[in-house]
Structure formats: structure tokens, C-alpha cells
């Protein structure tokens, strides 16, 4: 259960589809932080813009949505992943890409991500750790499962792979995380 979403999901969804502000708020605000973290893991510099695009698409299609809470999350994260793919395609067509100052600061940082995690333990740092230590596919699968609260079948549908592929990928990702993080945390403790 995602924070802020009540048990009676059907009632809230119906009210949200009817335009009730509180119901919409309850649906959206519970998912928003995780959605933003997921977008940040994929495109840190465009996370806010892409998150806004996702919510816009969700708002436009909410009236026609039909399903449970898990289906709603799967739907939202499906939109999110498509937005990321579209964004990367657009970026690939551009020969130059504007970057802000924070990007270069981040590049010259000598801090190891594992050390940052231990010291601050912020959600965005965990996301950064995951995307740094894991391959893109592994990070995507792990974050979809954790942030989206989705099962392997739902993640498989979102990424367009088989469920078996998702299970293999997530297992490798967890073993890799366990190895790297435990090694670093053991040193710093």
C-alpha cells in the first residue's frame, strides 16, 4: 500500500474520476514522490519536467482508467517509462545538450556513492547508488519493483520483456547491490 492511499481504492478512484479534488489529491500525492524518484533515477536533470508530463497524461486519461490500485501504479509507471524513452529519443536527435552547473559539480565529485549513502541515507541518494552500481536494465527493474510496488509480471509488461527475464535481472541486481554495499558499509562502520 502506497502512502496516503486508503483501502477503499475503488471509492477514491470513482470520486477522483468525477473530479473530486480530495480524491485526486489522495491518489496523486501518494504516488508522486516515488514517481519523481523513478524519473530522477533515469533522467536526473529532467526529472521534474518529465514527472509533470506523466501527471498531465494521467490526468487526461484518469476518467477512462479502470482497475485496481496496483493497476493504477502500473499504468502510471508505464507512462513514465514511455516518457523517458521518448525523451531519450529526442535527446539522441539533438547534437548538443544543454547542461546546468550542477551536472559538472556532480562529475568532479570524488565521493563514492556508497559513502554518501551511509552518511545521509536520503532516498535520492539511494536512487543514485542504485543507478550507479547497477546496469540500466537492473536499476530500472529494481526501482520499478521498489518504487512502483509492482510485481515481476507487471514490470515485465512495462519493460516489454518476459517475466523470467525480470526475475533473473532482479536477482543479479540484488546480489550485486549486496556485495557492493555490504563491502563499503563494512569499511565505513
Amino acid at each position: 500500500m502506497i502512502d496516503g492511499v486508503a483501502d477503499d481504492f475503488t471509492v477514491i478512484l470513482a470520486a477522483a474520476q468525477a473530479g473530486d479534488e480530495r480524491a485526486v489529491a489522495q491518489l496523486f500525492t501518494g504516488i508522486h514522490p516515488r514517481l519523481r524518484r523513478f524519473m530522477w533515477s533515469a533522467e536526473p536533470r529532467f526529472a521534474d519536467d518529465l514527472t509533470g508530463e506523466v501527471w498531465e497524461a494521467v490526468a487526461r486519461g484518469l476518467r477512462s482508467f479502470d482497475g485496481g490500485e496496483s493497476d493504477l501504479r502500473a499504468w502510471i509507471f508505464t507512462i513514465a517509462r514511455r516518457r523517458i524513452v521518448e525523451h531519450r529519443r529526442r535527446a539522441a536527435r539533438r547534437k548538443t545538450e544543454p547542461v546546468d552547473d550542477g551536472f559538472f559539480v556532480q562529475m568532479v565529485s570524488n565521493e563514492e556513492p556508497e559513502r554518501v549513502v551511509v552518511e545521509t541515507m536520503a532516498a535520492t541518494d539511494i536512487v543514485e547508488l542504485v543507478r550507479t552500481l547497477l546496469s540500466a536494465d537492473q536499476a530500472e527493474v529494481v526501482l520499478l519493483r521498489v518504487l512502483g510496488d509492482l510485481d515481476a509480471a507487471q514490470v515485465a509488461a512495462i519493460v516489454g520483456r518476459s517475466e523470467n527475464w525480470v526475475r533473473v535481472t532482479q536477482h543479479r541486481a540484488l546480489r550485486k547491490l549486496a556485495d557492493r554495499v555490504t563491502a563499503k558499509m563494512g569499511v565505513t562502520r
Binding site: R37, R145, V146, R172
Partner: protein, 337 residues
Amino acid sequence: MSEERDLDDVHHYLVPESQVDDLLAGREVAGEVSEGVTNISELFAVLRQPPDVDEQMSAAALQCLVSMVGAHPDVDVSPRRAEMQPRIRKTKVTALAVALTLCTAGAAAAATGNLPGPLNWANSSGTTHVVANAADAKADGSPSVTGLDNALDRITDAKTVPATTSRSTIASTTNPATTKPSATTKPSATTEPSTSTLASATGHPPTTADASATQTAQPVGPDATGPAKHGLCNAYLESLAKVHPKNPDAIAFRNLIAAATAAGQTVEQFCATTTPPTTTTTTTLQATTLPATSQPRANGNGNGGAGSGGGASNGAHDNGGSASATGSSNGQGHGKP
């Protein structure tokens, strides 16, 4: 390839398969928990933490989304229907353009005096009618769907008016000014022109040819059951006798054949009963074609329109006189061939 290397690299802290789902789903991991699993569990717990203040959705953004949810009603438009919408609209616009062209062409012909009186009236009225709607559509700078649809509906209505219904029925409700009879007739001041009398006052009986000609500007030919019957029969029989007959598909001959077929006769049999038209005969025929609701005119005094009905032999019409056949004996016909 890289994942195979990953497997080779990661072997210190194995995560049992049975614990993977618990870890990823945020559930308490069952069984013996290794240090690696504990560390990952802590990391994922942080990922699931409630949002910081800067991560929360702003009230303004939420308000915007709420308005967007309410601003997009769930319209059930099937993909096929949506795909057809531009085509339907294009067809309507094309139909309007064709109608405008036809009406404009008819008006131009009427302006040059190439059309008989009743057809002149109908086309000019129709042109005014449609152009007025087209102007409405452009009034706001963009095509008005309502105006366009109304115009198209009226055009459709005009085309679907039964042939036995006088066009003046429509005219009396849309443009009364144009229903004023021309100088060919002078209705009595004491006569209240009803719908049907307006039709007769145009100097033309409400025949099939009249109604259809005013609607589509298609050639209708003479009425083979009317005064043109004699001339048509003569022309047809003469043509048959020739080595190179006239076109049997001509509209006039088709009307004659249709009239004969409707009477259950051959053309020869149908034409055998015809007699040369006289003024008296014409008047009688006109009287029989008038609606029963025609008001009598005490002093009908009109000049028949030239060539009304398009027939070759029906030039001697006098509707003032014909109207008097039902209620007055003072009518005087002065037909002009």
C-alpha cells in the same frame, strides 16, 4: 555479456531466491537473513520513505491536475468514428461547395434571362439562402459547424421535398419576399394568398417539373401528361418514322415513355388519344392540376410566362385565366408563346 561478468563478480553475499520478492516488495524477509540482505533491506526502506517537503506535489500543481481531470470528459468516440470525422466534414464542405456552385450558376443563368420565371425565383432564393449561411460561418473567422450543418440540412431538406409539394411551401417560410408573384399575374386584393395560391401565383402550376427544377436545376423536360403531350407525341412518332431517329433517351421522350408506361399503354396507344392543344384545353388542364385549396380570383388577368415548364408546346399559359376556371368566368388569358 556484462551480466555474465556481474555473476562472476558477485559471489560474496548471495541473496536467496526465496527472499528476493520479500526484499523488493518491502515485506519482512523470512528465514535466515544474511548481512547483504539486511543492508539491501535498509536501502529499500529508505527508498520507500515518505517524501521530503521538496518532493511533495505542490498545491498549485495538484490544483492544475484536478482541473485537467475535470476538463477532459470521457467522450466515447470509437477509433473508426474519430477517423471518419474529417471525411464527414470534408464531404459536407464539398457538398456545400457543389450546392453553392449550382445555385450560383443558376442565378447567373437567370440573370441573363435564360431561365423561365419560376426557376429564376427558386435559384435566386436558394443562392441567397445558402450564401447567408456561409457568411454566418465566416463571421467569427472560423467555419461555424452549426451554420454549416444548418445550411447542409436545409439543402438536404430542399432535395427531399416530395415532388407533389410545391416549392413555395418552403419559400413562404424562408423568404416570403421572393414569393411575390412576378408581373405575370396580378392576384386579387381580396384574395388571401395561401401556400398553394402562392404556387399558382407564380404563373406555374405546382407540377413535378416545377418542384424538381427549383431544387436541383436538373433538366426535367416537359410534362408528357400535360399540354406538351401532343407535341411530344408528334415528335416521337415522327422520329420513329425517320431513318435516323432522334435520341430516344432525350429527357422529353423519357417523360413520354414514362407517362405511357404509367398509363399501361404503349407510346403509340398513349399518343393515339392526344388532341392538338387549344386555349380551352390548356385552361382545363391547368385547372385540373391546381390544388383544391386554390382561391378563386374574381378578376384574374395575367400574362402567361414564356415557356414555363420548359415544354415546347406549352407556351400558351395563363394562370390568371386558369384560376378563374375554378371560381370566375371573367378570367382572360393572354398567353405569350
